[in-house]
Symmetry: C2
Subunit: 307 residues, 2 copies
């Protein structure tokens, strides 16, 4: 099924306890697209880069199954740049630099060929731009998934709430869920957030797994216990890409299918954190992915006797 991804495309400079890199491909869109394209191709992309965006990265995206017809290249602009440093627990980070550059005036244009989009992923981006994409599609997609982050809760909460009303699934992490709802208990937080619009909520807990809520239904996907997490940047985007990519590939949005989509998202994210940038994701084979999905299943498998 047709899948459209909108999100940021950026250069990242990252420092973790394990290493340091300058200017690797980053932003929400590349991770989402490369993850989703493991299940369905081509993945349609609406994003923006500057005149400094390398041909090699464009090639990698195309090679990974991404359709670039909706990627704007601004001739006199620079690609967004983000720089951050992770703390020793890898669960928190400081943003050192954010230069929005061409993303500042991003006016998303939907190629006419994308008008029949059935699955829409609104990757992390300003809620106004996310909403614009949804409004510019002539018909509402079958499933709209939105990712966002605490930054937008601080600077654009009202806009965020308006966009939230229009989406089906929201994907955020545990601290963002607590911030958005004002509740510490994730069960209470989930109820409040689902009352804001989305019928389904995914709360990502990093190394502690992910929760999927829909009405009174609840599913928990553990995280694999990795030896080391090298770089968590993009893990959440990768998760979201795997989630919607799997659903688009089977063209089914039932709760049962969403459970499996959460497992695939988690499995993909566990690869993404092994290296800087989306390269590991790009190289990933279906055999590797299936093997890891079975590790997930084994991790929680047991049989229940009755005492």
């Amino acid at each position: 099924m047709s899948l459209l991804v909108v999100g940021s495309t950026a250069f990242d400079a990252i420092e973790t306890p394990f290493g340091k890199t300058e200017k690797v491909l980053g932003g929400s869109a590349p991770f989402i697209c490369l993850a989703a394209a493991k299940f369905t191709k081509p993945v349609r992309l609406v994003s923006v880069v500057g005149n400094d965006f390398p041909a090699a990265d464009l090639e990698m995206l195309t090679d990974g199954g991404v359709d670039l017809a909706g990627l704007q290249q601004i001739a006199d602009g620079k690609t967004m740049f983000w720089s951050g440093k992770y703390h020793s627990d890898m669960n928190s980070r400081d943003t050192l630099v954010t230069e929005l550059n061409v993303l500042m005036d991003f006016d998303p244009q939907i190629p006419e060929a994308y008008n029949d989009t059935e699955f829409l992923m609104l990757g992390n981006l300003s809620p106004q731009v996310q909403r614009l994409v949804l409004e510019r599609l002539p018909q509402r997609p079958k499933l709209v998934v939105m990712d966002t982050m605490n930054f937008w809760m601080s600077v654009a909460l009202e806009e965020l709430k308006i966009t939230l009303k229009l989406v089906d699934v929201l994907c955020i992490n545990d601290s963002e869920a607590r911030e958005l709802s004002g509740e510490y208990s994730l069960r209470k937080a989930a109820r409040k957030i689902m009352a804001m619009g989305p019928h389904t909520l995914i709360i990502k807990k990093g190394e502690h797994g992910a929760l999927l809520f829909q009405g009174d239904n609840l599913f928990f996907a553990p995280a694999l216990l990795l030896e080391d997490v090298f770089d968590p940047t993009g893990a959440g985007d990768t998760f979201a890409g795997g989630f919607i990519g799997y659903l688009a590939s089977i063209n089914d949005i039932s709760f049962e299918s969403m459970k499996m989509a959460v497992i695939y998202g988690s499995a993909l994210a566990s690869f993404s954190v092994e290296e800087f940038g989306p390269q590991r994701l790009h190289r990933l084979t279906h055999d590797e992915l299936n093997h890891r999905v079975h590790q997930f299943a084994d991790l929680v498998q047991y049989s229940v006797p009755t005492i």
Copy 2:
């Protein structure tokens, strides 16, 4: 099968964001015993209290299936007292008062009738006393499970390491595992700790579930997503009691049985946190427990297709 529990018996005064209590029954032993006795009765107890220990608490323990032949009552001493206050996230707490009282000079005596003990639970207590109990049993039990905490890592690390060499299963939380091993990655921490003695390690992660390691085998039990945690005191002891009680009841110490034992421990702990003290545990029925165990199973259940 015969199960012996050694641990502290205390009065607790607890403050949480949800309420406050003075002098409820606490210490590691009551929680472990009442949890274990849901599976196997009687549970043998070696512990110590003072002349201030109420008959009502003794009755509750006896009624709950605990054999008190090994409980010393010191005529001129006071029962241990602990007081603590939980922070708003319920994951961390400040100890306000610790009065060891009769526990200070505790010399554990094993009733002769306990000499055939096959399952031994060394509840949180000084590692010297834990070791004494093991040494005073004429034959080594089939399974020795030890619980400990960061306090003993600070004040008695060398003693702890000696006792650690003698046990089969160690039960600690994630921050304790990191402290004991000096490793942030729990996978690496587990490997190091298992090299210190225990062939099996359980790492409790509170609201994030529990990990069971044995050689290269790994199992993860999620925590139920509770609406609220009222008082986490004793949750780890309850978990340990459920773990060893289940294994003793089926007289099986295979990894497969330990998986189920972790699930039962988690289920019991999820009840224990609903109220101050071990009262909730005491009232708990098998029907309630079985129902919750099935909720655990549902939480992580899905079927794996191959893409």
